[in-house]
């Protein structure tokens, strides 16, 4: 009887995961979807707590302790985090899921090598796989967090010939896994610990050379790894809901990874070996004698106020400057004067998939105003003024006309099709990829130097006086 109830709870939980993710496909139902998935998780946890286990000591105090500690920590972090710091937060949570899988696999291996449990070849393979994927997801996510938080720069963690180092590490990791698999229980725990350390180093090392605009790809990929490690752990315990949940996450991460790569027109392989950089020096455009024209706050405010249509192009700079709310304020003022305001969102703007959408949602921008790449490009020729807020590579014309540029071939927002372009930027320094942006020297372009939030606030007060 109890067994049937437990099985039924697991079944309902698994269906809740699937249905919850399904509801995530429209903004109106997405919140219900998330709630449904969390209920599914709750049921699965309850089922695991009450499941009949012959001769089990249960040790509920230990379970409760862990749950209270982790639950409170996770909840507090989730409530306090700033929306602009969302990519970091997602990375940390993701890494902890991977770490949990590592702990499980290592515990199984401890028992395997000290003779208290027996595994056949299939089970050993699954445990080793869980360890491997979980460890890579863990350290990879932690480094991604450190990078996004600005604690670490790409150059500090990248060795000369880093690609070669990565290949050697990967080969060593796979080799050691195979050795442990073939060696069976004759080998000691030391070897398994060695594999864990090696996989942890590899996770760190494979993320090391990837940075900036490639971050959305890496975060999606790590998400998919954590899902797969959970699915593999499900195989260890022969638990279907772990398997289903893990695979769904794996699928979500994989789809996002592919979408992000497509948005940059690069292969995953190219992103992983840190494709940007290298050829950057060969790109033209760094002619030096070109002069960017600037615009005053006053002129920019008048231009915006008396135009028909304005399109904002947000980028990572918007997140850094936390300029989403003042941008919305400016939008409201302009709309009050009959200006049509839209936002153009490039798929890889920001540091994770959909990053800009979340920030603008926080500022109460209605989502129908957010245009994707194609819609934005078709509307740009009819737009009076484009305001670029902290975006760079996604509006670089070199992607279209300079075969020597590292981002050549990447679909970009054709902002130069509009009548005027105003670029809000701290200084003339090039973007993440280290590529000079010919847009800044374009006839239609005017630069407005300064912190994005500061500049927009000044525009707001200027527009108010008009």
């Amino acid at each position: 009887m109890l067994t049937s109830i437990v099985n039924l709870l697991y079944l309902i939980g698994a269906v809740a995961f699937v249905w919850g993710l399904r509801l995530m496909s429209t903004p109106d139902s997405a919140r219900r979807g998330n709630t449904l998935a969390s209920i599914g998780m709750g049921l699965a946890i309850v089922a695991t707590l009450i499941a009949p286990m012959p001769n089990a000591a249960n040790n509920y105090a230990w379970i409760l302790g862990g749950m209270v500690l982790g639950g409170a920590g996770g909840f507090m972090a989730a409530k306090r985090v700033q929306m602009t710091a969302m990519p970091q937060m997602v990375s940390i949570f993701n890494g902890l899921g991977g770490a949990c899988a590592v702990v499980l696999a290592m515990t199984e291996l401890v028992h395997y090598y000290d003779g208290t449990s027996v595994m056949d070849q299939g089970q050993l393979f699954i445990v080793l796989t869980t360890l491997l994927i979980g460890a890579i997801a863990f350290t990879g996510s932690m480094l991604a967090f450190a990078k996004l938080q600005g604690l670490v720069w790409d150059s500090q963690v990248t060795l000369p010939y880093h690609t070669v180092v990565n290949w050697i590490l990967l080969a060593a990791t796979i080799g050691l896994t195979a050795y442990l698999f073939i060696g069976g229980s004759r080998l000691g725990l030391g070897m398994a610990l060695g594999l864990m350390v090696l996989a942890l180093i590899y996770g760190f090392s494979f993320v090391a050379p990837i940075g900036g605009a490639d971050m959305p790809v890496v975060i999606s990929l790590l998400n998919s790894f954590t899902g797969l490690s959970a699915a593999a752990a499900g195989l260890i315990y022969n638990n279907n809901i772990m398997l289903v949940g893990g695979i769904l996450v794996g699928a979500a991460g994989t789809i996002l990874t592919v979408l992000m790569c497509q948005a940059m027109n690069r292969s995953l392989f190219n992103v992983l070996i840190g494709g940007f950089g290298g050829g950057a020096a060969a790109a033209k455009g760094a002619d030096g004698d070109q002069v960017a024209k600037t615009v005053t706050i006053n002129d920019a405010a008048i231009q915006l106020y008396y135009s028909q249509s304005v399109m904002f192009v947000p980028g990572y700079g918007l997140a850094v400057a936390q300029a989403q709310k003042v941008t919305k304020e400016l939008e409201d003022l302009l709309e009050a004067n009959g200006v049509d305001v839209k936002y153009a969102i490039h798929p890889v703007a920001g540091r994770m998939p959909g990053h800009m959408n979340v920030l603008l949602a926080e500022a109460d921008v209605p989502y129908p105003k957010l245009l994707d790449l194609e819609d934005a490009n078709s509307q740009l020729p009819n737009t009076d003024i484009v305001v670029i807020v902290g975006a760079n590579d996604v509006v670089n014309p070199a992607a279209l006309d300079d075969p020597g540029s590292p981002i050549y071939g990447m679909p970009v927002l054709n902002v130069w099709d509009a009548k005027h372009v105003i670029v809000l930027k701290r200084s003339m320094s090039p973007g993440y990829a280290g590529i000079q942006n010919p847009l800044f020297f374009h006839d239609k372009t005017r630069m407005l130097f300064g912190d994005a939030k500061d500049s927009i606030s000044k525009l707001v007060s200027e527009v108010k006086t008009l």
Binding site: R31, T48, V244, A361
Partner: protein, 103 residues
């Protein structure tokens, strides 16, 4: 070869489940629009915390004196629970912002 065939025959239902879930996952998730990619990711992320179930099973089956397993298991539960609780809570916070957008 014989081992592989034997594994296949013994775990046939599991293999069905695996393949169908992969297909289902891709079908369901490919319909999610760009606007919702971040909440999708963090929601999915919370679901990957399902690995906590393994940690609970581990602790329940441990001997009361086996402090190594108990400690590792409790660590696993704490890590998994942070992932679950934090992931769902943060996703809810984000989606709350999307919801009040309707005018």
């Amino acid at each position: 070869m014989e081992n592989i065939l034997q594994f296949f025959d013994q775990h046939l239902i599991l293999i069905y489940l695996l393949i169908f879930t992969v297909i289902l996952g891709f079908e369901v998730i490919s319909k999610v629009p760009t606007v919702l990619h971040t909440p999708l990711m963090s929601g999915a992320n919370a679901i990957s915390g399902v690995v906590i179930i393994g940690a609970i099973i581990l602790i329940r089956n441990a001997q009361p004196g086996d402090y190594l397993t108990l400690t590792l298991g409790a660590l696993g539960v704490a890590l998994g629970m942070t992932n679950v609780m934090g992931g769902f809570a943060v996703t809810d916070r984000m989606l709350d912002m999307f919801k009040k957008k309707k005018k």
